[in-house]
């Protein structure tokens, strides 16, 4: 069997396969849809990031710095809504997953290519509705839309929630597509336990997407019904129950944080194995922990409500279940570290992101223990401690893994290599900037600084200033990373088929792949049998050991 080793940038590939804007807008190719998602999602990340910088600038002084209270409240709402609904939730599955999943399966496309395109356009419609909401009186409810505030504020809650409702369908369609693809398109020799761990992560994610997202949809519709028609569901003035909204909302939104982190964990499994040049350690435990997380994640939502007045017994049960969900996450972390043992660790840019993930997600996970325990949560909830905690898991975890994955698959997506030195400097700046921004927030949170505060007591000013400086370091890091990637598009060296020495199937086709993904059908084996791959100087990348011995196969 001939495994291609070369670059197809100047030959037939999915980018050159068809020309013109119509060939993009009406494409059914999962790779092109993935690229369109990638561009849209990065634009959302930029938007959310600009909101974040404006927030941090406002918090430079304890009183007004650059905007009034109402604008500030809109800024943090839009920052949260853009980052969560437009960037983090679709980020890894819809952009990277769309591109990689069929390739990893050795398939030509996802199971339902048309549904895939529909999912993208629903995302676009949802995002446009969110933009409409920004223009017509941006929401000021926080991304959580708590009632009865959200049913009484005079900002455009309806268009924003309708946007989130439609984005939910986009997410559900991606989930359906991935589940069916993994069940039906796996080649016969790829049994469940021969599947790359990224696919296990996406599978667990898809389960949550299709089971939990409808609850959010219903909840947001009820909210709209209450606002638009005066139906009393959540507002006590109409005979409703405001705490009911919180139950409904977190019934989706807590599993949703695992929609965000599970695919990220999948990416990290790939990165750690590839750049340690070693078989992943504890494959079955990592795979099963994804499923365990997906299941337990449905049963922990009440930990957002320990001070809402829910019963002590309910709080106890939610607290214990919350601690249980920590165990499979810890198991993954231990297995990743063990994978490096006796390997051959290569500090390429994606591996730097993976190591940063272990460090940051470690802090994010461990600080979750303070919030899972009932007595300490009473003190810490709704303070900056929580803000720091979820940024360490969502940003330090998911977003860092997303960028690690982006730098990992970039040569496959674009057919170009980027400049390693500068991308490492950028990764280092992002790591330093991130910790500067959010470590200070743990301390002021423990001291009692509440979240979502426009004015604050002067004693918290030093921490806020450190945090603001960190945010700008972080921004510089991202601008640099973007510069490295954009530079590679026109000046990068052509990428080989397998620049890193990974054993999963997407590296067994040219970079970038042809329209149908594979010229010759790859034969899947153990996805982590990296020892079969050796570096070949003439190919500029890794080739199968047998073909290297045979003098290369370029």
């Amino acid at each position: 069997m001939a495994v291609p080793v070369g670059n197809a940038l100047f030959g037939d590939n999915y980018l050159s396969h068809a020309k013109g804007w119509k060939s993009w807008l009406f494409t059914l190719d999962h790779k092109r849809i993935g690229v369109m998602y990638l561009v849209s999602i990065l634009a959302s990340f930029l938007l959310g990031g600009v909101f974040a910088l404006l927030i941090r600038m406002e918090l430079w002084t304890p009183q007004r710095t650059i905007m009034d209270a109402q604008t500030y409240n809109q800024m943090f709402t839009l920052h949260g809504a853009a980052m969560i609904f437009l960037f983090i939730i679709p980020g890894i599955p819809a952009a990277l997953g769309n591109f990689v999943l069929p390739l990893m399966l050795g398939a030509k496309d996802v199971a339902f290519p048309r549904l895939n395109l529909l999912s993208y356009y629903l995302w676009v419609v949802g995002a446009l509705l969110a933009l409409v909401s920004i223009i017509t009186g941006a929401v000021d409810t926080g991304w959580t839309f708590y009632t009865p505030y959200s049913t009484t504020t005079n900002t455009s809650v309806i268009s924003m929630t309708l946007g989130a409702f439609i984005l939910g369908f986009s997410s559900i369609f991606t989930g359906i597509n991935f589940i069916v693809s993994i069940h039906k398109l796996r080649p016969p020799s790829m049994t469940w336990f021969k599947m790359p761990l990224f696919l296990w992560g996406l599978y667990g994610t898809a389960i949550i997407q299709i089971l939990a997202t409808p609850v959010l949809g219903i909840t947001l519709l009820l909210l709209i019904a209450e606002r638009a028609l005066g139906v009393g569901i959540f507002d006590p003035a109409l005979g409703g129950d405001p705490v009911l909204f919180q139950h409904f909302f977190w019934f989706y939104s807590h599993p949703a944080v695992y929609i965000m982190i599970l695919p990220a964990m999948g990416v990290i499994s790939e990165l750690v194995s590839t750049f340690s040049h070693r078989h992943i350690f504890g494959y079955r435990f990592i795979a099963m922990s994804s499923i365990a997380i997906a299941i337990i994640s449905f049963l922990v939502w009440g930990h957002h409500m320990f001070v809402s007045g829910q019963s002590n017994l309910a709080s106890l049960i939610f607290s214990i279940l919350t601690f249980l969900v920590a165990i499979p996450s810890a198991v993954k972390v231990f297995n990743w570290v063990a994978t490096m043992y006796k390997g051959e660790v290569e500090l390429a840019t994606p591996m730097l992101y993976a190591l940063a993930f272990l460090f940051l997600f470690g802090i994010g996970g461990l600080t979750g223990l303070f919030l899972g325990a009932l007595a300490t949560d009473v003190h810490l909830t709704d303070t900056y401690f929580v803000v720091a905690h979820f940024h360490y898991t969502m940003f330090g975890g998911t977003a860092i893994a997303f960028f690690g994955g982006l730098f990992y698959w970039w040569p496959k997506i674009t057919g170009r290599l980027y400049r390693e030195t500068w991308s490492r400097v950028a990764a280092f700046l992002i790591f330093i900037g991130f910790n500067t921004t959010f470590l200070a927030q743990f301390i002021m949170g423990a001291q009692g600084m509440p979240r979502r505060y426009y004015n604050y007591l002067p004693e918290f000013a030093p921490y806020h200033r450190v945090s603001t400086i960190g945010a700008f370091l972080l921004a510089i890091g991202f601008v640099m990373a973007a510069g490295v990637l954009l530079h590679s598009l026109y000046a990068g060296a052509p990428a080989p088929a397998n620049p890193w020495g990974a054993a999963t199937l997407e590296w067994q086709t040219t970079s970038p792949p042809p329209h149908d993904n594979f010229k010759t059908q790859p034969s899947p084996g153990d996805p982590y049998d990296v020892d079969r791959w050796v570096f070949d100087r003439s190919a500029g990348g890794y080739v199968l050991a047998a073909s290297a011995a045979g003098g290369g196969n370029a």
């Binding site: 409240n73 708590y146 505030y149 002590n312 051959e344 709704d382 509440p450």
Partner: protein
């Protein structure tokens, strides 16, 4: 370096001033040290492996190294499981103490509203700050007039949501005298971060003396002075300034006896009846340029109190206006 600073600063926690604070802090410290141990273990191993097994000329990886070890997996699942279950039940035990008031607690009614706190004492006196005696259990019965708020005293380590349409409860026993910060910690709109007040913990006997003096304002002070105290204690000050500066509502400086422009272009004179109506039915005549957000004080201010407030606003009128026909 930052780590040692943190340890030195009591791991970031504020001073302890309630009976439950030491128990909460002990659990916090336990979780902190367990977390610190595991964090250093993970990051330490990670860095050690990066250094020891890094790709370099002349280094050969061990292709025979094991790729799974069930005993190891069970160990690193089991030990954390035991530790987190300890945290879980320990947290629950202290949580029950936080949530279970003793039978003899002194009761204060708390009302949250955009964007102030009102505390109603058993004798009917209402104040914007919470005053309590030291070393005596105090029980708060809380509700909200509008949206969800949350009552948080960092020094007491207590917090509870304040929900419209229902009562939530909270108790504490202050162990130190002095003033302690109160925050609203559930986002409630424009003035959320200004919804601040304090708990003043009085020495034995001091609380009773304070309550008696505070309850008797109207009988012991001239009306304008009583009105000034009411202005501060009943939440007018959150939105209405007395120095001409802007706010959520119009300033009281130079208001009385002057013409005001209402929404819709009608002018009216700010006399006693206008002020009384604006207190009892704030939506009836909204001044142009302001949002109709003021809650009604119907049933919450006595006639005598309204009269005192009018007298206070009158005292802020500044230059008497010849055109006004008082």
């Amino acid at each position: 370096m930052g780590f040692f600073f943190l340890v030195q600063q009591g791991l970031g926690l504020p001073p302890q001033a309630s009976s439950v604070a030491p128990a909460v802090d002990s659990l916090y410290k336990f979780i902190f040290w367990v977390s610190a141990f595991f964090f250093l273990l993970i990051v330490g191993l990670m860095l050690a492996f990066v250094l020891r097994f890094r790709k370099r000329p002349g280094y050969q990886k061990d292709v025979q190294a094991p790729t799974h070890n069930t005993l190891l997996e069970l160990t690193w699942s089991g030990i954390p499981l035991v530790l987190v279950l300890i945290m879980g039940f320990w947290g629950f035990k202290v949580f029950l103490d936080i949530n279970t008031p003793p039978a003899n607690a002194y009761e204060v009614q708390v009302t949250g509203q955009k964007w102030k706190w009102l505390f109603t004492y058993p004798n009917g006196y209402v104040d914007e700050a919470l005053h309590v005696p030291v070393d005596q259990p105090v029980r708060l019965v809380m509700t909200s007039e509008d949206v969800i708020h949350s009552f948080f005293v960092p020094a007491f380590r207590i917090k509870r949501d304040v929900v419209p349409g229902r009562y939530t409860k909270l108790w504490f026993r202050a162990t130190k005298t002095g003033k302690f910060q109160v925050f609203c910690t559930e986002y409630c709109g424009t003035g959320h971060s200004d919804m601040l007040t304090f708990v003043e913990v009085h020495e034995p006997g001091g609380f009773e003396r304070w309550l008696e003096a505070a309850s008797n304002l109207l009988n012991t002070l001239p009306p304008a002075e009583a009105g000034r105290r009411l202005y501060q204690s009943r939440g007018c000050a959150q939105c209405h300034s007395v120095d001409g500066s802007g706010g959520i509502g119009p300033t009281f400086q130079g208001l009385f006896g002057h013409q005001v422009m209402l929404k819709g272009g009608v002018r009216t004179e700010a006399d006693e009846n206008y002020i009384r109506e604006s207190i009892l039915e704030p939506m009836a005549k909204v001044v142009a340029g302001f949002e109709p957000v003021m809650p009604t004080y119907k049933g919450r201010l006595k006639d005598q109190e309204i009269t005192a407030l009018v007298a206070y606003i009158k005292s802020l009128a500044g230059e008497p206006q010849p055109a006004s026909g008082q």
